[in-house]
Amino acid sequence: DPQPGKPAAKSEKDKTDKARQAVNVAAPAATAPAAAKAISLGRPALQEEIAAWNIDVRADGEGLPPGKGSVKEGEELFLQNCAQCHGEFGEGAGRWPVLAGGRGTLKSERPEKTIGSFWPYASTVYDYVHRAMPFGSNLSLTPDQTYAIVAYLLNLNDLVAEDFVLSKDNFPKVDLPNEANFYDDDRETSEKAFWKKNPCMKDCSGEVHVTARAQILNVTPDGDPPKGNLE
């Protein structure tokens, strides 16, 4: 059967396997070689090589390097390296992302999703700031600098005091307020109604009227071809 990913029948085990709830269950790839371990390709990774790339930090703190940094140090670093985009207080300059505030807006018409209002784990701030920021100079911050900036961002979000010093050791104690409000994909149960036997085909509603029009907003780029490599 050369077709990939045909959904297999669901077993009881599948149903109880939480990690698979959102997984498109498929037959194992028939093409994978039987004795794969025997393939003599690639080479062992050296510890130094792994260390150079192994930068991820997990919610339980795994991956955090030794080091520490204070809100104060973080403030200075943030003003130098981040504020031009994210604003002095993380309020966001122009269309650059907002990093602080927004508490209590998640049920509103215009939620403001920030570290304080939305993010479930502080570890993500450490991981992402070191990994991807400052935009244009990513991977340039030392561990101490990163701890300091994360401390400052937590402080901007009213989560730690001004004299707080963040370190590998106290990191696990930092909880973000919105953590409990995340739950795993439940569409197969909460949206079970979308699995319909016979969707209506004839006279499915009363009269239909236009209720919203994109043209009124007038935010669509015009039809001219962008400048580019075809000219």
Binding site: G5, D17, T124, Y183, D185, V208, T220
Partner: protein
């Protein structure tokens, strides 16, 4: 837009007056054209120069973390041509010399390994598979109501390609996954050092480590030389410029699976790890950028896809969802691959409210936007697979609207 009356696109020339494009014989039939190798690597006709990817510049602050959309309105078939696949970067397009490319596998494995590109190309079990890649934020600007006037912008974060590559399982088996391993972190070599946590089960099932698309090398903006293929799941997980795979016992809670790619619902709670892309469809013609130009016969053309399996049926409504006709599905319907559908119809010039509704072989039926909002509210950003409505006016102009 001027609409030609009656059936004929070109009215018969006035009695006795032959068409000037036939008499005299056009120049291109009497003059030698360009030689066979004018373009050693070919490009489209100059007359198609407006069929290009487009950016919505107000969407993001930087064009290096932005998106450029596929011009779906001008395309047909279920395959996306390589030059027109939508582009989403978070730190610009990494330019990697193929000889310097390395892929590392480590974490909860017996033998941490490093592979070169040549290693991957020499790996037993190479396959070619057609899959759609849809960004989870596709149609995300439409949650609160019709906003962008063209399927290039409302639905253009999707493409469908044949990938050439090696099952990820092969590489993981070579490294030897520890029984405690349950998740895989995939990481890119771009300046976003993009990361996503993928359940090991999916990784061992149908993911590919791909180095080819539609027969040739991956394009730079698609992750040259190597990207991850995660069939049916949100595009953000298909890490480009793949540099690292790490096996762990829990997800990493990276920025792209916490701050982003979680779905905020009306009650303030959020779904996470919503990986699979639900069944969805859109009519690509007529659509705002491809208005109707003629009364009489017309071909309605559209695409449908499902991350849960194979498209089994697509219905089309011309009256805003009151009545439906089952469309003709064209070509091989492959699982987790875009599927083309058609409805041939005659247009008398009346106003139309065009919709399409996809169904897949799990029995899932694409919901209306109202049905979606009733469950999710309007703040989800991601996974908007609601039924799209195009209003075709009697002059043929076509507009993105919502109906109720």
């Amino acid at each position: 837009a001027a609409v030609a009356g009656g059936g004929a696109a070109l009215a018969a020339p006035a009695a006795g007056t032959p068409d000037p494009n036939i008499v005299p014989v056009p120049d291109w039939t009497k003059t030698l054209g360009a030689p066979v190798n004018e373009n050693p690597y070919g490009k489209p006709s100059v007359f198609e120069k407006d069929v290009v990817r487009r950016e919505v510049t107000w969407l993001t602050a930087s064009s290096q973390s932005s998106v450029s959309f596929t011009p779906l309105y001008a395309l047909d078939s279920a395959i996306t041509p390589n030059g027109l696949c939508f582009v989403r970067h978070h730190g610009g397009q990494a330019e990697i010399e193929p000889d310097k490319y390395r892929l590392m596998i480590h974490g909860l494995v017996d033998k941490p390994l490093v592979f070169t590109l040549e290693d991957l190309k020499r790996m037993p079990g190479r396959v070619n598979r057609a899959y759609f890649l849809e960004c989870a934020a596709n149609s995300g600007m439409e949650w609160r109501g019709a906003q962008l006037n063209g399927c290039q912008f409302t639905h253009g974060m999707i493409h469908n390609l044949f990938y050439t590559g090696v099952p990820l399982k092969t590489l993981l088996d070579m490294a030897g996954v520890n029984p405690k391993g349950k998740w895989v972190l995939a990481e890119g070599a771009d300046a976003a050092v993009m990361t996503r946590s993928i359940p090991l089960e999916k990784a061992m099932n149908d993911c590919l480590v791909a180095f080819g698309m539609n027969g040739e090398a991956l394009r730079p903006e698609q992750g040259y030389p190597v990207r991850l293929v995660v069939p049916g799941w949100e595009g953000n997980m298909w890490v480009k410029w793949l540099r690292r795979l790490k096996v762990g016992d829990q997800p990493w809670q990276q920025r792209e699976e916490t701050s982003k790619y979680t779905d905020l619902l009306a009650d303030g709670r959020s779904r996470r790890f919503t990986f699979v892309m639900d069944a969805k469809s859109v009519v690509t013609s007529p659509s705002p950028q491809a208005p109707l130009k003629h009364k009489g016969p017309n071909v309605l053309s559209g695409i449908a896809w499902s991350g849960r399996g194979t498209i089994s049926r697509v219905d089309v409504s011309l009256d805003g969802g009151r009545n439906w006709t089952t469309a003709r599905i064209d070509g091989p319907a492959m699982p987790m691959s875009m599927t083309r559908f058609y409805l041939d119809f005659d247009w008398a010039g009346q106003e139309l409210m065009v919709q399409s509704r996809a169904m897949d072989d799990t029995g899932y039926v694409q919901p209306t936007k109202q049905e979606l909002r009733a469950i999710r509210g309007t703040n989800s950003i991601y996974h908007n697979n609601g039924i799209q409505t195009w209003l075709v006016r009697s002059n043929g102009e076509t507009e993105n609207v919502e109906v109720g």
